[in-house]
C-alpha cells in the first residue's frame, strides 16, 4: 500500500519553483531517505506532506487524502525538525504529556526512558534548551508518537556524534518493534545509509533517483587509472563524475552496467575499480557541473 503518492507536484514561491513536477510514491512501512543539496526542496516537500504548506499544482495524497487541512493526516503523521514550536509556558514533561493526549499511539514509557537516558530535566523549558538538546527532545517526541507516518527533517542538527548514533539506533530499534513509514532527510547520508531501505534523491525540486538503497550502492563504479585508458573504458557509458588527478591520472564515476568479465579485463588493463559510496554518489549526481568545485579554480 502506498502511503504517499505525488503526481506532478509543484510548489511555487514568488519567482521560483521550490518543487517542480515531482512525481513519486512511498510504500508503507519503509524507511526512506530524502536526500538533496541545500535548497533542493526537501523541506518544502516534507512540509507539504505534513500538511503545513499548500501545493501550487499537481496532486499529493497522504493516506489517500490531500494533506493540506486534513485532520486525519495530521493525526497520523508527525513532522520533526529543529524548529518545532512548543508553548513557552509548558515544561518539558508537560509537553510530552500534551503530545500523549494528541497522538493515539503515544508510548509514554518509551518517551520517559529516552527522556531520562538523555538526562533531561522534567521541569526545564523548551526554548532554553541548547541546539543539540532541542533536536534530541524533538526526536523523542517524534519517536514516542509512533505515528504511521513519521517525518524527520534534519533531525540531528546540533547533536554530537554520540547522540546521533544513539538516535539512529533508537530509531531502528523502535522501527523494528513498531514498523511504520519513516522519511528521514539528512545531510549525513553516510551516517544514515545503513538505516534506509529506499532513497529519494531530489535536485532542483525534481526527482533525480528513487530506488532501494542496496541498488544505489551498486549503481555506479569508480574507475581510476591512466587518463587515456579510463576515457577508453568509460566511453559510451553514462559519465557521472570525472576528476583529473595529476598529469595522467583520471578518476571517473560511471553508471555500472559492466559485467563481471569486463570488469576483470579492466583491472587487468591496469585500471583500479572501486565502488562508490552512496553519499559520494549523491554529491556527484547533484553537483552543478561534472567537475565539482575544482572547475571554479580550473581556468585561472
Amino acid at each position: 500500500m502506498k502511503v504517499i503518492e505525488c503526481k506532478d507536484l509543484t510548489k511555487a514561491y514568488i519567482g521560483k519553483n521550490a518543487l517542480n513536477q515531482l512525481s513519486f510514491s512511498i510504500e508503507e512501512n519503509k524507511i526512506t531517505g530524502l536526500v538533496g543539496r541545500n535548497g533542493a526542496g526537501k523541506t518544502t516537500l516534507l512540509k507539504i506532506i505534513g500538511g503545513f504548506l499548500k501545493e501550487t499544482s499537481g496532486t499529493i495524497q497522504v493516506f489517500s487524502e490531500r494533506p493540506f487541512n486534513s485532520l486525519n493526516v495530521s493525526a497520523h503523521s508527525i513532522f520533526v525538525d529543529d524548529k518545532m514550536s512548543f508553548p513557552p509556558a509548558l515544561q518539558l514533561y508537560e509537553l510530552l504529556e500534551a503530545a500523549g493526549s494528541f497522538y493515539p499511539n503515544w508510548d509514554m514509557d518509551l518517551a520517559e526512558r529516552l527522556f531520562d537516558y538523555f538526562s533531561f530535566d522534567r521541569k526545564a523549558y523548551h526554548q532554553r534548551l541548547s541546539k543539540g538538546k532541542t533536536s534530541t527532545f524533538n526526536m523523542i517526541v517524534g519517536l514516542a508518537a509512533r505515528c504511521p507516518l513519521t517525518i524527520f527533517d534534519e533531525p540531528t542538527t546540533g547533536m554530537d556524534a554520540v547522540v546521533r548514533k544513539d538516535f539512529y539506533r533508537a530509531l531502528l530499534k523502535d522501527y523494528l518493534a513498531f514498523p511504520r513509514t519513516i522519511i528521514l532527510s539528512s545531510h549525513h547520508l553516510d551516517e544514515i545509509e545503513d538505516l534506509l531501505e529506499d532513497i529519494l534523491l531530489i535536485n532542483d525540486g525534481k526527482k533525480h533517483l528513487h530506488m532501494p538503497m542496496e541498488e544505489l550502492k551498486e549503481w555506479a563504479i569508480g574507475i581510476k587509472g591512466a587518463t587515456a585508458t579510463v576515457l577508453e573504458w568509460s566511453d559510451k557509458k553514462e559519465l557521472i563524475y570525472k576528476n583529473q588527478i595529476g598529469a595522467d591520472t583520471l578518476y571517473a564515476v560511471v553508471k555500472n552496467d559492466f559485467d563481471e568479465p569486463s570488469l576483470m579485463k579492466a583491472s587487468l588493463a591496469g585500471l583500479k575499480i572501486t565502488s562508490v559510496s552512496a553519499s559520494d554518489l549523491c554529491v556527484y549526481l547533484t553537483s552543478e557541473s561534472k567537475g565539482g568545485i575544482d572547475n571554479v579554480f580550473s581556468d585561472r
Binding site: 531502528l172 523494528l176 538503497m213 583491472s267
Partner: protein
C-alpha cells in the same frame, strides 16, 4: 555485502552447524543497526548461493555442505581476485615469478611459526 560475509565467517568458525537456524533479518538489523531489508538481501544472497536454505515460515537454515561451498567460493572468487592483484602489482614492480613465489613462501612460513 558485509552481512553475507559476516554470516559466512560465522559458519566457517563453526558458530552455526548445518541445519541450524541463522539470525533472522530483524535480529541482524538490530545487531548491526541496519535496515532489515538490507539484512534480508544478505540472507537471500546466501540462499541463492545455496549456503542457506529457507524453511517456509521458520526462517533461514544452514545447508549441509555450507562450509565446503563457502571454501570453494572463497577460493575461486575471493582468493583468485587477490592473487590476481598480487600478480598485477608484481608485474608493475617487475618482479620475476620466482621472486613472487619466494615471497609467498616466506609469508607462509612466518604465519606457520606464529
Amino acid at each position: 555485502m558485509q552481512i553475507a560475509e559476516w554470516i559466512e565467517t560465522e559458519i566457517m568458525k563453526g558458530h552455526f552447524e548445518s541445519d541450524q537456524k541463522v539470525y533472522s533479518q530483524y535480529q541482524l538489523a538490530e545487531m548491526y543497526t541496519i535496515n532489515p531489508a538490507t539484512a534480508a538481501k544478505g540472507l537471500n544472497l546466501l540462499a541463492d548461493e545455496g549456503i542457506l536454505f529457507k524453511k517456509r515460515g521458520l526462517g533461514m537454515f544452514v545447508s549441509v555442505n555450507a562450509k565446503e561451498m563457502i571454501i570453494n567460493k572463497r577460493k575461486n572468487q575471493t582468493l583468485k581476485r587477490l592473487v590476481q592483484e598480487v600478480v598485477l602489482e608484481a608485474a608493475r614492480l617487475q618482479m620475476s615469478e620466482d621472486e613472487l613465489i619466494e615471497m609467498i613462501k616466506a609469508v607462509q612460513n612466518e604465519e606457520g611459526e606464529q
